[in-house]
C-alpha cells in the first residue's frame, strides 16, 4: 500500500477517521472508562453491529463487485463463530472441571479431565465423548487457525466445483442456499458433534479473564471488531482497486467477454469467493463471543438472505454502502422489534410494530429494489455529486 492508493481512494481515509472517532466516542461514554452513558449491553450491540458490517462488506465485494449473489456467506460467518466457540467452551469447561477436581486425594489423569470436560459439554445431547472435530479445541492458536481454514477450505472446494462447471446467476444463488441449508440441517442433529440445536453457549466468558468485568471485556471486543472492520475495509478497498478490481467488476458486467479477453474468470471468482468467506469467518469469530451463544438457527438460509438485504439497501458496489445498510437495518430492526417504535392506533386496529416490522421490512425491500436500485449509498452519491 503506497500513498497513491489512499490518494486514489479518499473515501477510505474518511471511513477510517469516522470509525476511529466513533470508537473513541463510544469508549469515552461507556461504563468501562467513562460516564457510563452507554451501557455494556449496548456496547456489545455496537460491537456485534461492527462485525455484521465486516461480513456485509465481504458480501458487497462478492456480490456488488463480482456479481456472485452468494446466499451462503452467513454460513461462513457461523462456521467462524463455531470454531472460536469450541475453544471458548472447551477452555472454560476445563477451568471449571479442573477446579472441581483439584481437591481430590489422587490427582486426576489427563484422560479423566478430558472425559469430564466432554461429559460436561455433551451431556445435553446424551454423549460423553469428545468428537473428533474437537481435537484442536484445547488450543487457542489451532482453533484460531480453524476460524480461517474451515470457511476458506469450504469456500474453495464449493467454489471450485461450482465455478468450474460454469454454474452462474440464479443457479449459483440457489446452490449456495442449498449448501447453507445442508450445513444448518447437519448442525441441528444431536450427533453432529456440536451439541445439536443447543448450540454452543456461555461464550461471553473468556477463559483466563474470569475476574475481568464484562464492561472491559465487551470494550476489548468492541475495539477488536472496529480494528477488524478497518483492516477488512482497507483490504477489500485494495482488492477492488487497480487492475484486479477492474477485472472483477468486468466479470460482474459481462463474464463471457472477460473470458474471451483471455482472463481466467474462474480463478478470479474463486479468489474473491474464498477471501470473502475467510473474512466472514473472522467476523463470526468476533461476533459470537459478544453474542454469548451460537446455534444452528443462526446460519439458517434466511440469515444469508438478510445479509444480501443489508447490502442491497445500503447500496451495492460501494463498500461504505454495505456498512450503511447494515447499520440502518439492524438498528431499525432492534428499534422496531424492541418496542421502541410507538404503536399506531387506526381506530379499528392497532398496528403493533413487533408484529408488523417484518411486513414493513419486506415491502421496503421491494421498494428499494424497484425504486432505488443503488440503495442508500446511491442517494449519498447523488448528494456528493450535486455539491461537486
Amino acid at each position: 500500500m503506497n500513498r497513491s492508493f489512499f490518494a486514489k481512494n479518499p473515501s477510505i481515509l474518511w471511513f477510517i477517521a469516522l470509525l476511529g472517532l466513533f470508537t473513541l466516542g463510544v469508549t469515552l461514554l461507556s461504563e468501562a472508562t467513562g460516564t457510563g452513558l452507554i451501557s455494556t449491553s449496548f456496547v456489545k450491540t455496537l460491537g456485534k453491529t461492527l462485525c455484521l458490517c465486516l461480513v456485509a462488506i465481504a458480501m458487497d465485494v462478492v456480490w456488488g463487485y463480482c456479481g456472485i449473489l452468494s446466499l451462503g456467506h452467513f454460513a461462513f460467518f457461523g462456521i467462524g463463530g463455531y470454531a472460536i466457540g469450541m475453544w471458548l467452551m472447551y477452555a472454560r469447561t476445563e477451568v471449571i472441571v479442573s477446579a472441581s477436581m483439584a481437591n481430590q486425594v489422587i490427582p486426576p489423569s489427563a484422560t479423566e479431565v478430558s472425559d469430564a470436560i466432554a461429559s460436561q459439554i455433551f451431556g445435553v445431547v446424551g454423549a460423553s465423548e469428545l468428537p473428533t472435530i474437537w481435537s484442536f479445541a484445547h488450543s487457542l492458536p489451532l482453533q484460531l487457525l480453524m476460524v480461517v481454514l474451515i470457511p476458506g477450505l469450504l469456500a474453495l472446494v464449493f467454489g471450485w466445483l461450482a465455478f468450474r462447471s460454469r454454474v452462474t446467476g440464479v443457479y449459483l444463488s440457489i446452490l449456495t442456499q442449498a449448501m447453507t441449508l445442508a450445513l444448518s440441517l447437519y448442525l441441528f442433529q444431536n450427533d453432529s458433534g456440536l451439541r445439536g440445536n443447543n448450540g454452543l453457549s456461555g461464550l461471553q466468558n473468556i477463559p483466563g479473564f474470569e475476574s475481568t468485568p464484562q464492561s472491559l471485556v465487551s470494550m476489548a471486543f468492541f475495539w477488536a471488531s472496529a480494528l477488524a472492520l478497518a483492516i477488512g475495509y482497507i483490504l477489500f478497498a485494495f482488492v477492488i482497486s487497480g487492475k484486479m478490481g477492474s477485472v472483477i467488476r468486468a466479470i460482474r458486467d459481462n463474464e463471457t467477454r472477460v473470458r474471451f479477453l483471455g482472463y481466467h474468470v474462474e480463478s478470479y471468482k474463486l479468489f474473491v469467493f474464498t477471501l470473502t468467506a475467510i473474512v466472514a469467518g473472522i467476523a463470526g469469530a468476533l461476533y459470537y463471543p459478544q453474542a454469548g451463544i451460537i446455534n444452528p438457527a443462526e446460519i439458517a438460509p434466511i440469515a444469508s438472505i438478510y445479509l444480501a438485504v443489508w447490502v442491497a439497501i445500503g447500496g451495492r458496489g460501494r463498500l461504505y454502502g454495505a456498512v450503511l445498510g447494515t447499520v440502518a437495518v439492524t438498528l431499525a430492526s432492534s428499534w422496531f422489534t424492541g418496542g421502541g417504535a410507538p404503536d399506531i392506533n387506526l381506530g379499528f386496529y392497532t398496528i403493533k410494530w413487533t408484529d408488523w416490522w417484518l411486513v414493513l421490512l419486506g415491502l421496503s425491500f421491494v421498494a428499494v429494489t424497484l425504486f432505488a436500485p443503488q440503495g442508500i449509498g446511491g442517494l449519498v452519491d447523488k448528494l456528493v455529486r450535486k455539491k461537486a
Binding site: S109, L161, V170, S173, I174, M179, G362, S364, F365
Partner: protein
C-alpha cells in the same frame, strides 16, 4: 377338565352332569367361593359353571366380572340388580325377570372380584364368546386369545371353528389355531407342519410366533452338552464384548472380576494412608498404569479384591465356549422355524421395498406439485420466485378458511381447490404486474424483491392466523390407508395427492402442447424476441404464465395442507426442495420437473431407509448429492438444447 372332575368328586352328592340343574343351585353349592372369590378358589367354580352347559352362564360370568352380581344377606342367594332412581330391583339369574322390587340396598352385598379373579373369569368367558351369536363378541374373543397365546385355548378355539358362520373370522380363527399349534402342538410333526404354514404369513403376529419359537438363551460351558439345541456359537470380541463374555464366565467359575477402570481411582482413594496408596504416593497416581500397579499392590495385601488382568481374561475365555441355545430343545422344530423365518423375512424385505417405492412416489408427487409452478415461471421468465412457498401457504390457508364456512369436508374441498387456484393466480398476476416486470433485466434482484414479498406475506399470515398450526381436515373417505398386505400400506390422502399430481401433469401437458396459450408460452420460453416479432405479446404471456404457476402452487398448498398442518412457515419448508427439483430436473420442461421430483423423492426416502432415525441427515446428504449432481449435469436432467438454452 381334570379339576372339574375332582371338584365333582369332592361334592359327592352332586347330581351327575346333564341332570337338570339351574344356575342358582350350582352357585349355591359354591356360595362362599362366589361371594368372596379369590384367584386360588375360583377355578373349581368356573369349571363347574362351564361343565353345566347352561345358556345363562356367559351372561352371569360377564355380570360377575363387571361387579353387577349381589347376594341377598338374609338367604345368600345371588341376583343381578337394576336401579331406577332410588328403587333397587333384584333380577333373577335364570329367568331375567324381576324377583323382588324396592329392596333395601343395605340388605345386599355387592360381589367385587379382584383383578386376578376377573382375568380368570375372562378366560372362562372366552369359550362362550367364541360361539356367541354376536360377531363383535366373537371377534373380541379372538383378539383376546391373540393377545396372549396359551395352550389352554387350543381346544375351545378348535371347537368353535366349524360352527363359525363368518368367513373372514373363520379364517382368522384358523390362523390363530395355527399359531397355537406352532407353539404348543403336541407332536413335533404337527408343530413343524404348523410352522411351515406360516411361511406366507407376513403379519406381525405370525412373525412373533416364529420368533417366540426361536427364542434363545446365552449360555456358557466348557463342553457344550449334547442335549443343547445350539443356535450359534458366540466369539468374544466379535459377537459380544470380551468384558461381557468374561463377566458371564467369572460369575459361574468364580474367576476374579474385571474392575471397571473408572472404579479404580475411587477404590484407591478409600485406601490412602499417610498420603500413600498401595505403597505409592497418591499425588503420583496420575496415569492409568501407575494406578493399576498401586491397585495390584493393594490386592496382593488382600485389601481389595484381585482384578482380572488381560492374561487371565484371555486364558479364561480360551477355556470356555459361549453359545446361544434355543429354548426349544427339538432341533427339527427350530430348523423348520429358521427356514420359515428366512422365507418370511425375504418376503417382508420385498414388501418393504415396495412400500418404500410407494412412499417415494407419493413424496415425488408432492414435490412435483410444489415445484412445477416454479419450473414454468423459471423456464419462461428466467426469474426465481422466492415467494412461491408463500403461494403454497396461501393456498393452504384458503382451504382452511373455506372449511370455516363450509362444514362439509367433501364439498369444502371441491370449493377450496378452484378457489385456492383463483386466489393464488390473482396474487401471482398482481406480483408480476407490480414487481417482477420491472426487473426482467435484473434476475438476481428479482430473487431479492420476491424474497421481500415472501417475508412480508409470511409475517402477514402470522398476524392474521396466529402462529399455531391450523388444521385442514380431509373428508372421511380419504381417511385410513390402502392395506395391500401386512407390510405395504399407503394412506388414501397420499393416493389422492398422487392422482392430483397426475391430473396436473396431464392438464399442463395439454395446455402446453395443445392450446394456443401453450404454443405461445413455448415460443417465449425458447426465444422471447423472436416470439415477439412473430406477433406474440410476451408481456401477456409472462403474466399468464406467472399466474398459472402461482395458481398451481395454491393447489399444491391445499394438497400439502391435507396431510401436514397449515402454518405460516409451511411454504418455507418446501421452497428449497422445490428449487432443487427445478434445478435437478432442468428448467422450463414439465418432464424435467417430473424426473427431478421423482429423483429427489426417491433419494430422500432411500436415504431415510438406511438411516431411519435421522431425517435431518437424510436432507443433508440429499442436498450434498444434488450439489455434486449439478457438477455433472449443470443444466439438469432434461436440458434445453441449442440456441434455446441461451446462457
Amino acid at each position: 377338565m381334570l379339576r372339574a372332575l375332582l371338584a365333582a368328586l369332592l361334592f359327592a352328592w352332586l347330581p351327575a352332569p346333564g341332570f337338570a340343574q339351574d344356575l342358582q343351585s350350582i352357585l349355591q353349592e359354591h356360595q362362599a367361593e362366589v361371594a368372596k372369590p379369590s384367584r386360588g378358589t375360583v377355578g373349581p367354580v368356573l369349571e363347574a359353571l362351564s361343565a353345566s352347559g347352561l345358556p345363562e352362564v356367559p351372561r352371569f360370568l360377564e355380570r360377575w366380572q363387571d361387579k353387577n352380581v349381589y347376594t341377598r344377606e338374609e338367604d345368600g342367594l345371588f341376583f343381578y340388580v337394576e336401579q331406577t332412581g332410588d328403587t333397587v330391583t333384584l333380577i333373577d339369574l335364570g329367568t331375567g325377570e324381576p324377583a323382588q322390587t324396592a329392596v333395601d340396598p343395605d340388605a345386599l352385598n355387592q360381589i367385587k372380584p379382584n383383578g386376578g379373579v376377573r382375568r380368570a373369569i375372562a378366560e372362562a368367558l372366552v369359550q362362550f364368546q367364541l360361539s356367541d351369536p354376536d360377531i363383535t363378541r366373537r371377534a373380541g374373543a379372538v383378539d383376546a386369545i391373540a393377545r396372549g397365546l396359551d395352550p389352554s385355548q387350543i381346544a375351545p378355539l378348535a371347537a368353535s371353528i366349524d360352527g363359525e358362520p363368518d368367513a373372514a373370522l373363520k379364517l382368522r380363527k384358523q390362523r390363530l389355531l395355527n399359531y397355537l399349534a406352532a407353539r404348543f402342538g403336541t407332536t413335533p410333526e404337527a408343530r413343524i407342519a404348523a410352522i411351515r404354514a406360516l411361511s406366507s404369513d407376513l403379519s406381525v403376529d405370525g412373525r412373533a410366533v416364529l420368533s417366540q419359537v426361536l427364542t434363545t438363551t446365552t449360555e456358557i460351558a466348557q463342553e457344550i452338552p449334547a442335549s443343547a439345541n445350539v443356535a450359534r456359537i458366540l466369539t468374544p470380541g466379535t459377537d459380544l464384548p470380551e468384558a461381557e463374555a468374561y463377566a458371564m464366565i467369572a460369575a459361574k467359575a468364580g474367576a476374579p472380576a474385571i474392575i471397571d477402570p473408572t472404579r479404580i481411582r475411587p477404590t484407591l482413594e478409600t485406601h490412602v494412608e499417610n498420603g500413600k496408596a498401595g505403597g505409592m504416593p497418591a499425588a503420583q497416581l496420575t496415569t492409568p498404569e501407575a494406578r493399576l500397579r498401586a491397585y495390584d499392590a493393594l490386592a496382593a495385601a488382600g485389601k481389595v479384591p484381585p482384578r482380572a488382568t488381560p492374561e487371565i481374561i484371555a486364558e479364561t475365555l480360551a477355556g470356555w465356549t459361549i453359545y446361544d441355545a434355543y429354548d426349544e430343545p427339538d432341533a427339527t422344530i427350530t430348523d423348520a422355524a429358521e427356514v420359515t423365518q428366512a422365507a418370511v423375512q425375504s418376503r417382508v424385505a420385498v414388501s418393504q421395498a415396495a412400500d418404500l417405492g410407494l412412499d417415494a412416489i407419493s413424496l415425488a408427487s408432492i414435490y412435483f406439485l410444489a415445484a412445477i409452478g416454479l419450473a414454468i415461471t423459471f423456464g419462461v421468465m428466467g426469474v426465481i420466485n422466492m415467494a412461491h412457498g408463500e403461494f403454497i401457504m396461501m393456498g393452504a390457508y384458503t382451504g382452511y378458511v373455506v372449511q370455516l364456512f363450509i362444514p362439509d369436508y367433501t364439498l369444502s374441498l371441491v370449493v377450496a381447490l378452484p378457489l385456492a387456484f383463483a386466489v393464488t393466480f390473482g396474487a401471482g398476476v398482481a406480483m408480476e404486474r407490480l414487481v417482477i416486470r420491472w426487473l426482467y433485466d435484473r434476475p438476481l434482484e428479482t430473487l431479492l424483491a420476491t424474497f421481500g414479498v415472501s417475508i412480508a406475506l409470511q409475517q402477514l399470515a402470522k398476524n392474521i392466523f396466529g402462529t399455531q398450526a391450523r388444521p385442514l381436515t380431509s373428508p372421511g373417505w380419504l381417511d385410513g390407508a390402502w392395506q395391500i398386505n401386512d407390510v405395504i400400506a399407503i394412506s388414501y390422502i397420499r393416493i389422492a395427492i398422487f392422482v392430483l399430481a397426475l391430473l396436473f401433469l396431464g392438464l399442463l401437458l395439454f395446455i402446453l402442447k395443445r392450446t394456443r396459450l401453450g404454443l405461445e408460452v413455448r415460443a417465449v420460453t425458447q426465444n422471447p424476441r423472436m416470439a415477439a416479432s412473430m406477433g406474440i405479446n410476451p408481456d401477456r404471456i409472462k403474466m399468464m404464465t406467472f399466474g398459472l404457476g402461482s395458481g398451481i402452487a395454491g393447489i399444491a398448498g391445499v394438497a400439502i395442507g391435507l396431510y401436514a398442518k397449515v402454518t405460516s412457515e409451511m411454504g418455507a419448508d418446501y421452497i428449497v426442495q422445490s428449487f432443487m427439483t427445478v434445478v435437478v430436473g432442468g428448467v422450463g420442461n414439465v418432464w424435467g420437473t417430473l424426473a427431478g421430483a421423482f429423483m429427489i423423492g426417491t433419494l430422500q426416502k432411500g436415504i431415510e431407509f438406511f438411516n431411519p432415525s435421522n431425517t435431518l441427515a437424510a436432507q443433508t446428504y440429499m442436498i450434498l448429492f444434488i450439489i455434486l449432481f449439478i457438477q455433472f449435469r449443470p443444466k439438469g436432467i432434461v436440458a434445453l438444447k441449442g440456441r434455446a438454452a441461451g446462457d
